[in-house]
Every structure is written in C-alpha cells, then in structure tokens.
C-alpha cells in the first residue's frame, strides 16, 4: 500500500486540526486564523492532487485501495471504519480542496470587516475537514458521522450572523429539514448493518457494496414486498434528498442564503449539497443491485425513484427561480434544480454521468455565487436584483467572470463545461428505457435555466444602475449626492482573482468529458480513455446536441426578449413576466406555496402533538395522580370521621357514662354517719317488710 493511501486521513485531518486550534484562539487573532485555514487547505489540496495522481492510469481492479481500522468493540464484534481511495474519491477530493481553497482566499476579502472573522475561519475549516471526511469514508458510519458534522457546520454558518432572527430561523430550519432525511439515513444504515454485518463499503470482498453482500440483500424480501437492497437504498436516498435539497425537502436551501456569501458558494452550492449526490454515487452498487432473475429489467426500483425525484426537482426549482428577485435566492433555486439534474443523471446514466455534472457544476456555481458576493459587496449589501443594473461597466471583472459562469450554467454550446455535462445527462435520459418523460423534463429545465439566468444577468449587469433611485426616493433628494459616492465599485483582487481562476475552469473542464474524448467517465470507471471524434458525429449524439443547443438558445432569446431588450428603469417596475402573466408569476414568486403548506400541515401537526403531550401530562396522567391523591385524602377523612364520630365518640360516651355512674356511687359514700344510719334503717325496714310479706305467702 502506498504512502498516500496510508495517510489519506491527513486530508480531512489538517483542516480539522486547524479548526480545533482556531477554536481556542482569541477573536483578535485574525491573521493567525486565516493563515492556518488557508495553509491547512493548501496542504490538503496538495495531498489530494497526490492522491489523484496515484489513481491515474490504474485499471478497475487496482483502482480502489482501502485502509480499514477497528474503532470500538461491542460484544465480540469490532466496529470498523476506514477510508478508500478510488477515482470517485480522488476526483471529489481535488474538487473540494481546490474550490474550498479559492473560497477561503476569497473570504479573507469578503469577511474582512466582520468582527467574528476568526470564528468564521474556524467553522469553514471544520466544514472542510468534515466534507473531506465524507469523501474519503470507506464506511457508511464514518460517512454518516462526517455527514452530520457537515450539517452542523452548515447550521453554524447559516446562522453566522445569529443576531438576525431570519438567519437564526434559517439555520434551525436547515438543520431540522436535513435531519428528517438523516433519521431515515440512520435507519437505512442500521438496516444495512444488520443485513450485511458490516458498514465498510469495500473490504476485500466482505464489504457491503461487494458482490456477496449485494446478492444476499437482493434475495431478501421484506414484508412490504421490496427487496432489502431496495428498502435500504431508498432510506439512504432519503438522506440524500434532505442534504441535496431535493423535492420535497428542498425548502431549507433557499433560506440557507442567510449565511455569508462565501458560505453559500462553498457549502450550499459547490460541496455540501452535492454530498447527497455523492452519497448516491458511492452506494450506487447497492442502488443498482438486482436479482439475476430480472437482470433484463431496465432499471431498479431505487434508481427509478432517484430518477423521478431528480427530474421533478430539476423542473420544479427552475420554475421557482424564474420569479425570484434576490440574487442569491435565484442561484439557490438554480442549485436545487441542478442537483436534480445530477440525481437524474445518476438515475438514468450511472455514476459517471451524475458525477461529471457535479464536478463542473461545483466550479461554475461557486463562480456564480462568488460573483454574486462580489456584486453584493460592491452594491453595499444590496441583494435585490431590481435595485442593481448597469454593473457591466462598474464591475468589469465581476461581469466577465459572471458571464462565463452564467453561460456555463445555461449550457451554452461547445465552449462551456455545463453544456457537455448537461448533454451527457440528457443523452442518458433519452436512452432510458423506462420512460421518456425524464428526458422532456430535462429539456424543459434546460430552457428554464437559460431563461432565468438571462433574466438575472440582464437585470444585474445591463441597463442603468437603479440603486440610487430607490435610495433617493426613500431618503429624500438631498441624500442623492451622498448616495452617488456610494456608487458600486469593483471588488479587491483577493476576491476577483479566485473568480478568474474558477472562470477558466468553468470553460476547460467540459473538454474532459465530451463524447469524443470521455476521459472523466473512463477515469471513474477505471478504463483507458479513447479519442474517437466519430462518436461526436454519430447521428443520435449530434441530433441531441443540436436539439439541446436549440433549447438553450430559445431560453436565452426569450430571456433577452423579455428583460434585455428594454431594461427595467425603476426598481419598482413590474417584472417582464409579471406583465404578461401576473397570476403565473405570483405562484412562482411564492414558490408554489410549499413553505405555507408545510407551515399549515407539518409544523402545525408537530405543535399539536406537543400540545397534546403537554395536555395529557397535565390533565390525564397528572389528573390520575391528583385523583389518587384526592381519593387517599378522602379515605383519610372518612377514616377520621369514623374514628371521631364512631369509635372516639362511642368510647367517650361509654367512658362518660361509667364516670357518671362512678360519681353517683362515690357520692353515696360521703362519710356522714346520719346518712349511713338512715340507709341502714331504710334497708332494715324494707327487709322486714319483705320477710313479713314473704312468710305470709
């Protein structure tokens, strides 16, 4: 085993160590915190590159190396954890460390004036460590542990500005919504454990993702008629649904934008939310496991669920994104939608298809978020796109890089990475034998993506700057001069340099996975990549590429026609779409009322349960105790009454009578001789009379 496999733990450990040290540092040690975080991330990045290099050019059988170790013992069993180095891990490691490093650097500029700068880097490092732990884990338990820690840091960072009630509420919402999925994941995990006796993914043939364990799980049928593998797969997928913001658990992700923008870029766009997709990719063998009997069936039940959830999410979130006005919320819904694409890709095309979009998306979405951060920074913490406009000239670097990111996300043909990775998904969806609908969903989503990104860019960067007008109207005209000094400005180099680097990657990464040279796909599958330009020109592929390109152009054109042609003049103007279809726009703007629906059902139900539990306690259980108390007291009273009025009173009465009798008798013996003699005389007389009478008879 080579050095890098043996020491892969260092990759997550270094940021964790940095987090631990920073946690002990004082608030004023800003430079120390930033240096430590960036330094540890740089070393992790270098190690990740080393790990990546190690996996290059290896064939399938030797491409995966694991290191397992015992953690603790229960009964006679040892619970083992471990890490794995395979192409999936290595690709994610490089992506996470690289994007993370850039965002760390960017944060130095973005958070420069925050008083909790030190704490911020502590949380960021903790996040990076936990996320890298998710990536290298060779055990579902280790993955789950890091997964939960990632959730914790997400909670901490969304609520970073905890004094804002909305941030505090959003943090709580994020944690609880994802925990809903995590509880299912926990159950799936313990089920998997009991089925296979191990939680290690790969363990020289004894792991739970290896053939013997999978075969056993497929053969086992539960009481609901599902194969055990399907049941476990669906429970694990529920965890992924929570983390990756898939419908119906997507509600937390847009609210998570309350956190600082670098956090949105790193956690809620590039890495953590993709962890759900990564998890499905990691347990893909389990999801795809099927019985030998139905080897001919096109797809497993678990994968079909993944596909449908992904397809629905892709369209659902894209529709909402169309009508949002907060620059970050548009991107957040876009993220949800793109995560849906990844799930769709995993469902219809396998690991390589979904993961390729994950990697390209991480770069261009981080770019977009950081660009949005730069815009927000330049516009003095303004996030409403209606109050921006015309920034193309004021912030040229941000505009140029943002445009690259936008075109990549929209899937502009040939040049941009998003085109190639989305095309892969559409291609796979087109070939999916079960149903053709996911393909149409995907196409419609692509149209919407191009449309809402055009709308956003048109509103933010084109037309005239609309920030003054709003400010002037609000604060009176004599402030107009002052607000002119508050003209948006370009961000410092520490923020724009990472943008430029990411923009470059948003372009070139696509060429690693074109149909002509599917290097990335081959790399993940442990095969050698072939250059074959003919594949690009194969009729099916070409037609599909043309079709999707047309859809993208349609979306771009539609967006430009509605928003670019005649830019908004005032912040209060009606939206282009709103003027055409106000009722549709209202539904989309209010996010299909999902939050309101949950408010009325789940949250009210929970509050009702709490009320019921409390009520039962106070009145039923507590009442029973009180009833016992009163019965006991009543019985005591009864007993007392019996004592006092029956026993005591009778006894007293008896005593009194005896006393009276005694008093009477004693009154007879008063010591007066006359009385005694009188009594004697009377008695004698009586006796005599008696005798006389008696003798006569």
């Amino acid at each position: 085993m080579s050095w890098i496999v043996h020491n892969l733990w260092l990759v997550p450990f270094l940021p964790l160590l940095a987090a631990g040290l920073t946690a002990l540092a004082k608030q004023r040690h800003r430079r120390f915190a930033a240096t430590l975080a960036i330094g540890s991330m740089t070393v992790s990045f270098l190690l990740a590159v080393g790990a990546f290099a190690h996996t290059l050019g290896r064939h399938e059988d030797e491409a995966r190396q694991v290191f397992n170790f015992p953690w603790f013992q229960f009964g006679t069993e040892w619970l083992k954890l471990g890490w794995v180095l395979d192409p999936l891990t290595a690709a994610m490691l490089v992506m996470v460390t690289f994007v993370g490093l850039l965002i760390f650097i960017y944060s130095v500029g973005y958070m420069a004036h925050d008083e909790n700068f030190t704490r911020f880097f502590c949380f960021l490092s903790l996040f990076a460590g936990a996320m890298l732990g998710v990536v290298i884990a060779n055990s579902l338990l280790l993955l789950f542990i890091c997964w939960e820690l990632v959730g914790l840091t997400s909670y901490l960072l969304i609520g970073f500005w905890y004094h804002k009630p909305s941030a505090a509420a959003a943090a709580k919402k994020a944690f609880i919504t994802t925990r809903l999925g995590d509880v299912a994941l926990l159950l799936g995990m313990v089920w998997l454990y009991s089925q296979t006796g191990t939680l290690l993914f790969y363990d020289n043939g004894a792991g739970c993702l290896e053939q013997s364990a999978l075969g056993a799980m497929v053969a086992q049928t539960t009481s609901l008629g599902l194969a055990a593998s399907t049941g476990i797969g669906l429970l694990i997928f529920a965890g992924a649904v929570g983390k990756s913001g898939q419908v119906p658990l997507h509600v937390w992700l847009p609210d998570a934008m309350e956190g600082p923008t670098p956090v949105s870029a790193l956690i809620h766009a590039a890495t953590m939310v993709a962890a759900g997709v990564f998890l499905v990719a990691r347990v893909y063998p389990l999801m795809a496991a099927r019985d030998i009997a139905d080897v001919l069936s096109p797809s497993t039940a678990a994968l079909q669920v993944v596909t449908w959830v992904g397809a629905i999410t892709a369209v659902f979130a894209a529709l909402i994104a169309v009508a949002q006005t907060d620059i970050k919320r548009i991107l957040a819904y876009s993220t949800v939608s793109q995560l849906g694409y990844m799930m769709l890709g995993l469902g219809v095309g396998g690991v390589a298809v979904g993961m390729f979009h994950l990697i390209t998306h991480a770069f261009f979405k981080a770019l977009l978020f950081m660009g949005a951060g730069s815009v927000i920074h330049g516009c003095h913490e303004e996030q409403d796109i209606r109050r921006m406009g015309g920034l193309r000239k004021l912030m040229p670097v941000t505009f140029a890089t943002y445009a690259v990111g936008m075109l990549a996300l929209a899937g502009f043909p040939l040049l941009f990475s998003g085109f190639w990775s989305k095309d892969e998904i559409l291609h796979a969806a087109h070939e999916w034998p079960v149903s053709c609908w996911p393909f149409y969903f995907g196409l419609f989503g692509a149209l919407l993506t191009a449309f809402y990104m055009t709308r956003q860019v048109a509103c933010v960067f084109f037309g005239n700057y609309r920030g003054h007008a709003a400010e002037g109207a609000a604060a009176g005209n004599h402030h107009a001069a002052k607000s002119r000094r508050h003209q948006p400005h370009e961000s410092p180099a520490v923020m724009t340099a990472p943008l430029a680097i990411l923009a470059a990657f948003a372009v070139v990464l696509g060429f690693l996975g074109t149909p002509a040279w599917p290097w990335f796909q081959s790399y993940l599958e442990g095969e050698a990549a072939m250059v074959d330009p003919d594949k690009l020109l194969a009729p099916g592929t070409l037609a599909l590429m043309l079709g999707s390109a047309l859809v993208v152009f349609a979306g771009l054109g539609l967006g430009w026609w509605l928003y670019g042609r005649r830019p908004m003049r005032h912040a209060d103007d009606a939206d282009g779409l709103e003027r055409l279809h106000p009722e549709i726009f209202a539904v989309l703007r209010d996010k299909f009322y999902v939050d309101e629906f949950y408010e009325a059902t789940v949250i009210r139900f929970n509050a009702g349960c709490a009320w019921l539990g409390d009520w039962l306690d106070r009145w039923i259980w507590g009442g029973a105790v009180l009833a016992c108390k009163f019965i006991t007291i009543g019985l005591s009273w009864l007993s007392r009454l019996f004592d006092e009025f029956v026993v005591n009173l009778g006894f007293d009465e008896g005593c009194r009578r005896i006393g009276n009798g005694a008093r009477f008798t004693s009154s007879l013996q008063d010591g007066q001789t006359q009385n005694y003699l009188r009594t004697l005389a009377l008695a004698l007389a009586a006796l005599l009379l008696l005798l006389t009478w008696g003798c006569k008879g």
Binding site: F72, G75, T76, P165, D614
Partner: protein
Amino acid sequence: MNDFPAITGLTLLPLIGGGLLLGLGADHKTLARRLALGVSALALALAVTLAVNFNPSSGGLQFVQRLSWVPGLGVDYFVGVDGLGLLMVLLTALVVPLALLASGRITERVPLYCALVLLLQAGLFGTFTAQNFFHWFLFWELSLVPAFFLIKLWGGPDRGPAATQFFVYTMVGSVAMLLSFLAIFLATGKFNFTDLAELSQTGQLDASLAAKLNWTSLSPAALKLVIFGGVFLGLAVKVPVMPFHTWLPTAYAEAPSPVTMLLTGLMSKMGVYGFLRILVPLFAAEMRAVITPLLWLAVITIVASAAAAFAQRDLKRMLAYSSINHLGYCLLGIFVAVKLTGADPKLAVEKAAVLDGVLLQMFNHGLTAATLFCFVGLLEQRSGGLRGLNDFGGVRKVAPVFAGLMGISVFASLGLPGLNGFIGEFLIFKGAFPLVTWATALAALGLLITAVFLLTLLQRVFQGPLNPKWSAFPDLTTAERWIVAPAVALMFLIGVYPQPVLHLLNATVLQFVTKLMS
C-alpha cells in the same frame, strides 16, 4: 487491592463525610464546601482506582465482599461490581463533585446541604454495589431521604408539593417492590441477587413460588406476573416510564439546579440499573409475556416526552422531559434485548450491540444532562432566577464562551456524531432495528423532535437580537469554565474514542447476552 474492602470504603467515605458535616455549625460555609468537595474528590479517586484495577475480561462481580449478616433471614452483606455497577459508580463519583462545584447559589444552611449531598452519594454508591436485596433496598430508600430534603429546603417557590409528590410517588413504587420481594423471600428464603437469578434461570423460582404461595389461588404464571408487576412499578416510577412520570418535571423544575443534576444524572439511573440488575435476570420470562405492551410503553415514553418537551416554556421542565426521552431509549434497548431467544449468533451480536448501547447511553445521559442542568443553573445565577425560554435572547453576543460550551452540550444531547450521545444511540438503534423494527422506527421520531426543541432552545436563548436587559450578562468566569471543561472534554473523548468505556462493559454485556439467549 483485592483484600482491601474498597467498595465498603467507597460507600463509607461519603457517609462519614456527611455525618461530620451534619455536626458542623451553620456559619462554617467555606469549610463545609471544601470538606464536601474533598470527600467527593477522594471518592472519585477511589472510583477511578477501582476502574483501573477492574479486570475487563471478566464479566462477573469483582471486588466482592461477602459477610453473613442475619443468617436466619438470608441477609448477607454482599457487595461487588461488574461492568454495569462500575460504570454507575464512576458516573456517581463524577457527577457529585460537579454538582457540588455548581452549588454556588446555595448560601443558606450550607453544611446541611453538603451533608445531604454526600449522604445521597452514599446511598447511590450503596445501591450500585449492593448484591443483596436487603441492604440494596436500604440504600435505595436512603438516597430518597436526602433528595427529599434537598428539594424541600432549597427548592423553588413550589418546592413543598414537588418534594412531597416526589417522595410519596417513589415511595408507592418502593412499597410495591418491597412486597414483591417479600413474596419471593417467602418462597425461596433468599435475598441475594445472584442466587435469585440462578434460581430463576433454572426454573426453581417459579416452582417454589407455586409451592409456597398456593394460598393466593392464582396460577403460577399469574402469580409471578403479579410479583413482576410490583417490582416493575417500583423501577418504572424511578426511571420514569410514562405514565408514571408526572412527579418528575415538577421535581426537576423546583429542585435547585445542582440537585436536579443529581436527580437526572444519577437517581434516574437507579431505575434503569434496577431493570438490568433485577428485572432482566429474574423476570425475563414475564417480560417476554408482556413484551408488546412494554415496547409500546418505551415508544410512548420516547415520543410523548419529546413532544411534551417541545411544549415547555421553562428550560428546566424542557430538559426534564428531554431526560425522560433519553432514558426511553435505554428502556427500548432493554426490552428489545429481552424479547427474542434462540441460538442464532446474529441475534447475540444485535443483543450485545443493544445492551452496550444502553449502558453507554446511561453514562452519557448522566454526564450530558447533568452538564446541561449545570448550565441552566449558571443561567439562573446570572438572571436572578429567570429561566423561561423567552426570557433571554441574543445572549451569545455578550457571552460567547457560555453559548459555545452550552451549545456543545446541547448537541451532545441531541446525538450529534463526534460527541458522546451518538455512540449510545447508534448502538441501540443498530441492535434494535433488526430485532423489533416497528418500535425502532417509531422511536426514531424522538430523534427528530429532540432536535426541534433543543435547537429552539439555542435559538431563543442565544440567537436573535440581544435582549437589552442582558447587555451586561457576564460570560463564564475562569472558575466556571474549569467546572464545565472536564465534562465537555469527556463528551468529546467518548464521542471520538468510546473504546475505553466499552472495554469495561463488554464482558458484562456478553454475560447478559448469554443469559438472555435461552
């Protein structure tokens, strides 16, 4: 070490300390505090020495001391610990000094207070080490008396009714248990737990009960079920199992915070300990006979208490319900472990996991809940007795260290991986899910609701805009940091590397499993 009567010494130490303190005048406050702390520190040292000398590869009783006491009545002085007892002794030795250190707000009759705390500790040590029902029950009741006075004399405004309810409720349970044991004694003439367990294992217990108590005109099975019911009631009140829990929220809320630490951290463990030490070895068959209702009780305890916690507006009452919820997992684990029998080796693995989880959960809950109540005490100290959920707000801004350390404890309580609570819950769920899937799946709801109300607690107290009333809220002082630091460090330690603790338990757990298989 084996010749030295270590356990007797351990129990005598706080007993003597408490006795000395009782004789101390009310003015010697500092002396009393120091003396009590010294005694509890010595006890901690002794308990740690026990743990170091404990042989983890043997599941039987160790450090045994057995003297005949009243031979005619089968009463021996019989003490010893296995892994379970040792764990509880360690927990007791750990939480009592913590509670004493957190007693800064107690300023009246300090020597008496310290004396009662030490007497309570003696009662707990005695309960966790006694192997003969006679003095086990003495200690069981002995611990109740100081607890009663601690609530009654130093508690909140409603302390009178709370203390009375606590005492009477527990007493009713104890009487039921005593009657059951008298019946057993009448039938067998034995009081030693080990002897009784053996009799139960061989079936002789049932036979002698049927022979000696035939005048009750109950069938042998029904008779034993009645006896089981008495013991169950005594333990269920103590844990508590819903619906025998109504004394708990009031008692926890009215007791001063350090006493609540003792109540939740230690006294609630007496109940669970009793389940494992008495109920499972003696009445496994009866538990199996009514296992479905028992499982329902556990599930209801878990879910309903979590839901009730969410409805509370008083931090102490909220954490009190949370405490019931956490012990519900222990009960679930115990019932699940008892349910199935057979020779399947997979079954043994799951049972070992469950029982290891239960034992660890007992320890973890003791540590975490005590720490949380310690924090609530510190909050009360700063707010002048206020502890409503909505009385604070934004306190993190002025007291970041307070918020951070209490936040860690809260997350330990809701079972965040990396902290202690997770390992126990994971093991319980891991073993319970394959054995009784429906109950485990329902119990998982508790995990969710726990997160809801604990995060609400953090949100209302520490986040949001700073309540201007608390702009001068002091952060933890250095001394206070040192009080809670060991507990928080232990949470991390067990969360990251639980093996040292599990190592002490495994042999005992395996012995339980062997007995539960047939």
